[in-house]
Structures are given as structure tokens and as C-alpha cells.
């Protein structure tokens, strides 16, 4: 069975700080990887995804993530966060024909 681990439940940063949210998964085969974001009071929405090809994936709002197969990781990064990035971030993995499995989420609070 596949699983996803997000290292931090809560992260607090000041504006302009760099961000890296950790995500590790366990699955022995080919995977599709996702980061979703849920802004306060809004729908859960897709931030970026990796299916194949370039392991460095760029998403909306300046976010990017790097798939490192040897480390079973898909960390989310942003060089300079803004107050509007305050949200909950979910990593998710889909292996083979299995259903999507989500991590427990990381709540990011950016102080102005």
C-alpha cells in the first residue's frame, strides 16, 4: 500500500523567507505526485503535479517541486513567500491504478 508523509504539521515564516515543505512517499513503482493547497475559506486546489519527464515541476504562484526518485521525495519550494501564501498544503501520491493518497497536510503561516 502507498503512503505519504509530510514532515511538518505547522510552519511559520516571515514574508520574503524561503520555503521548503517536505514530502516523502512509499510505493515501489511508478507514481504520480501532486501538491494541493487550501487557502482559508477556499476550495482545495491543485498547485502542481508530476507525471513524468523533467523532475523539476513548476506550478502556480511561483511554487515548484522536485521529484527525487532515489529519495522517494517530492518537496515543495518557493524562494520568497508572501502573506497570501498562508494556507494548508497537502502532498498526494498515486501509484499505478491505486487511488490518490494524501499526506496529513502542513499549515503554513506567513507573517507580514
Amino acid at each position: 500500500a502507498q503512503s505519504v508523509s509530510q514532515h511538518n504539521h505547522h510552519v511559520i515564516l516571515s514574508e520574503a523567507a524561503s520555503l521548503e515543505l517536505g514530502c516523502n512517499y512509499s510505493y515501489g513503482g511508478t507514481v504520480n505526485l501532486f501538491w494541493y493547497v487550501q487557502y482559508p475559506g477556499q476550495h482545495l486546489q491543485l498547485l502542481l503535479k508530476y507525471f513524468s519527464g523533467d523532475p523539476l515541476v513548476k506550478g502556480i504562484k511561483g511554487f515548484e517541486a522536485e521529484f527525487i526518485k532515489s529519495k522517494f521525495s517530492f518537496n515543495l519550494r518557493k524562494p520568497s513567500v508572501q502573506w497570501s501564501d498562508t494556507a494548508e498544503y497537502f502532498c498526494a501520491v498515486k501509484g499505478g491504478y491505486s487511488t490518490l493518497t494524501f499526506g496529513k497536510g502542513t499549515m503554513l503561516l506567513v507573517s507580514p
Binding site: 501532486f34 497537502f90 494524501f102 499526506g103 496529513k104
Partner: protein, 112 residues
């Protein structure tokens, strides 16, 4: 473009009462449909998914059931609610099982 609707947005129900949450998708045909429950600090738990009318797969045995009476309609039900059924319920759709899932606004259920 595709849109997904859920109602009601918020629901307060007494223990032992029945439940019916509805999800509809517009702008696509024969979508895969999903019901998740989101709990604080626990991520998203897949409850049911459906690949077609009348086809329901249950991921977690519990007090809830799902039905898909029409192509773009997915209903989450219970005959008798428990306190533990309180939570935030999300509906999602995808083009097929290999593709990205898109989420609705959710229904917050409080069982008293």
C-alpha cells in the same frame, strides 16, 4: 469549463438522524467521482469513489454509504448519524483514474 457543486455548505444534524449530501459536476461526461472526509491534522481520507453510474467502491467500512444515480451526481448518505460522523466532506472529480482530481467547496457536517 467544468464546475463542481456541493450542498449544503453547512449542516447540523442530531445523532441518529439520516444524512444526504449531494455533489454534482457540470461540463464533463462520465467523470470519476470521489467522496473524502477531511479532519484537522489528519489530511483527506477517501471514503468512496465511482467510475460510472451505479458503480461504487468503498475504501473505509463505516456508517456511510454512497450512490451515483446519474452520470454527474454523487450522493453521500447515512441512515443514522453518529457523533463521529462530524467533519468536512469533500467531493472531487477526475477525467479518469489516472488524471488530476478537482475538488468541490465541501460540506461541513456537525452531528450533535
Amino acid at each position: 469549463s467544468q464546475t463542481i457543486h456541493q450542498w449544503p455548505a453547512t449542516l447540523v444534524q442530531p445523532v441518529g438522524s439520516p444524512l444526504s449530501l449531494e455533489c454534482t459536476v457540470e461540463g464533463t461526461s462520465n467523470p470519476n467521482l470521489y467522496w473524502y472526509r477531511q479532519a484537522a491534522g489528519r489530511g483527506l481520507q477517501l471514503l468512496f469513489y465511482s467510475v460510472g453510474i451505479g458503480q461504487i467502491s468503498s475504501e473505509v467500512p463505516q456508517n456511510l454509504s454512497a450512490s451515483r444515480p446519474q452520470d454527474r451526481q454523487f450522493i453521500l448518505s447515512s441512515k443514522k448519524l453518529l457523533l463521529s460522523d462530524s467533519g468536512f466532506y469533500l467531493c472531487a472529480w477526475s477525467v479518469d483514474s489516472q488524471e488530476t482530481q478537482y475538488f468541490g467547496p465541501g460540506t461541513r457536517l456537525l452531528v450533535l
